[in-house]
């Protein structure tokens, strides 16, 4: 029964993608347009382009920068968010400023960051951090602020020390909110990874796609875009797996509350 269910789920999940690909295939099958090459041609280009040295020279560096920037942003966001969320004074001081910085679209920071961080990996990682940190930070602040009072009183009455309150109460309690922020940050991170490579770069996915476009290697360009989509899917699946593991208690609690 559960096997049937699983099979059904997979079928449902795959139905629309399969239809879209089939539609694309049929619509472009006999295409003579230079800009809309047949899907078959794009897929051939995909294999030739990415199952090659390019994977090491372009895909891996991109992913490395994404990972470094994203994890940096999560750590920074959670650390700052916990501090700000725990202190009413800090919140009062910083909240207006945070709203301002959050409202600035990170891509406009690229030219500025280039001025003092150069055009190397450091700049690109900084761009990713500068965009990803906000949803994590703001959600952490909210999560920490909304911690249950009774739980806080319990921790105090058992004289839990600061750092163990942080580990056992604040971080797990804010966990669901932190995860929500981290999920938003992931898609922002992928966008910024590509954008940061379009300005000044010598490798990376964004750089390669722009190169293909400028040299009229249209099927290759399309294959790069498909690859970006696939990267997005894989990363979001990985994120969900980690989240499901870390927040298993939360899912259980929610289910129990719904049924109760």
């Amino acid at each position: 029964m559960s096997l049937m269910n699983a099979a059904r789920k997979i079928l449902l999940a795959l139905a629309v993608p399969v239809l879209l690909v089939a539609g694309w295939w049929l619509a472009t099958a006999g295409s003579a347009s230079f800009f809309w090459p047949p899907l078959g041609q794009i897929l051939t280009a995909f294999a030739d382009t990415w199952f090659s040295a390019r994977f090491v020279t372009d895909v891996l560096p991109s992913l490395g920068r994404l990972l470094a920037g994203y994890l940096g942003a999560v750590v920074l966001g959670v650390a700052l968010g916990t501090a700000i969320g725990s202190s009413r004074t800090l919140r009062g001081l910083l909240e207006p400023v945070l709203e301002f910085f959050r409202a600035i679209p990170s891509p406009v920071l690229v030219p500025i960051l280039m001025l003092f961080a150069g055009i190397g990996d450091g700049m690109k990682i900084l761009v990713i951090v500068s965009g990803c940190v906000w949803p994590v930070l703001l959600n952490t602040v909210e999560g920490v602020r909304a911690l249950d009072e009774v739980l806080g009183d319990t921790a105090r009455s058992y004289r839990m020390r600061r750092h163990s309150r942080l580990i056992h109460l604040v971080l797990p309690g804010a966990g669901p909110q932190i995860a929500a922020g981290a999920r938003q940050a992931l898609s922002i991170g992928i966008i910024l990874m590509v954008i940061s490579e379009m300005f000044a770069a010598s490798n990376g996915l964004g750089f390669t796609i722009i190169q293909f476009q400028r040299s009229f290697a249209i099927p290759q360009m399309w294959s790069g875009i498909i690859l970006l989509g696939l990267v997005g899917i894989v990363l979001s699946m990985a994120f969900r797996a980690v989240e499901a593991r870390l927040l298993r208690w939360y899912t259980g609690l929610r289910t129990a509350q719904r049924e109760g």
Binding site: D148, E149, V150, L151, D153, T154, R156, S157, Y158, R159, M160, R161, S164, H168, L169, P172, G173, G175, W249, Y250, G252, L253, A256, Q257
Partner: protein
């Protein structure tokens, strides 16, 4: 603790030693442009090993009083002295069982981890910690639920976990803030008996806050009746019922009915705004 599972020497238990001394306690909440006097002047003593109930009409500042004793709230005037030490923050020899069991257990921890965490904080050695967790969960009848998460348990069972956690902590004073207000009547009777038996076995001092008159008379050796807010002590009623109590016989004793009526009258007086001269 007297019934120390490891056989450590029992704490001397004498009715003349004050475990808890509340003197002239006053609490005024300062709001924007107006202040509310919740508690005016409370003075009472709880001897070591006593089980005292505090009962009052709703809004009598029972929770305020309890939070002041627990060191979770600053007092405006007066003082709370626990075992000779003035309370300025949560004291080491005290454990609190809150009314909102669902919100006082850590949902990301298992039952065992919940009970064990305060012991880790107290730096109890591992072997002894295991023993205390095991014993206290057995005492509340939840030895089999150690690996469950709190939200997998019923309300009454969750409150049992909170009680086990408090008991494992080996407090000298156990504060209970309307702990059974949110459980059904049958579970409530079981939990009342659990509190009585734990108190008798462990020799811990218990201060039990409730709004339920029957519960206060059934449980306590004394019932302190509070006035309405701003709160003072209306009367300190000694409960001269036999030490062995059970839901059926104790509650049908004529003396139980008398005491219950007396406390009931006091509460009615308190509601109508009566204050001691």
């Amino acid at each position: 603790m007297t019934a120390d599972p490891t056989g450590a020497p029992a704490r001397p238990r004498s009715a003349t030693t004050a475990m808890l001394d509340v003197r002239g306690l006053q609490k005024i909440y300062e709001g924007r442009g107006r202040s509310v006097e919740a508690v005016r002047d409370l003075t009472f003593t709880v001897a070591a090993g006593e089980l005292v109930c505090i009962v009052g009409p709703s809004g009598a500042g029972k929770t305020t009083l309890l939070r002041c004793i627990a060191g979770l709230l600053d007092t405006t005037a007066g003082e709370v002295v626990l075992e000779g030490e003035r309370v300025t923050g949560p004291p080491p020899g005290m454990a609190v069982v809150f009314q909102e069991y669902g919100r006082s257990l850590f949902p990301w921890m298992t039952v065992r981890q919940n009970v064990e965490l305060p012991l880790k904080e107290k730096k109890v050695p591992k072997d002894r910690r295991r023993r205390l967790v095991q014993d206290s969960l057995e005492a509340v009848g939840l030895a089999d639920a150690q690996d469950a998460h709190p939200w997998q348990l019923s309300g009454g069972m969750q409150q049992r976990v909170a009680i086990a956690r408090a008991v494992a902590y080996e407090p000298h004073l156990l504060l209970m803030d309307e702990p059974f207000a949110a459980v059904d009547a049958q579970t409530r009777a079981d939990l009342e008996d659990l509190v009585r038996s734990l108190w008798q076995r462990l020799g811990v001092t218990v201060l039990f806050v409730t709004h339920d008159i029957d519960e206060s008379v059934y449980l306590g050796q004394r019932v302190i009746v509070l006035s309405n807010s701003p709160t003072v002590v209306l009367e300190d009623v000694p409960i001269d019922l036999p030490a062995e109590r059970d839901q059926l016989t104790t509650r049908s004793l004529p003396r139980f009915a008398e005491l219950r009526s007396h406390v009931y009258e006091l509460i009615q007086l308190a509601k109508s705004g009566h204050r001691p001269a």
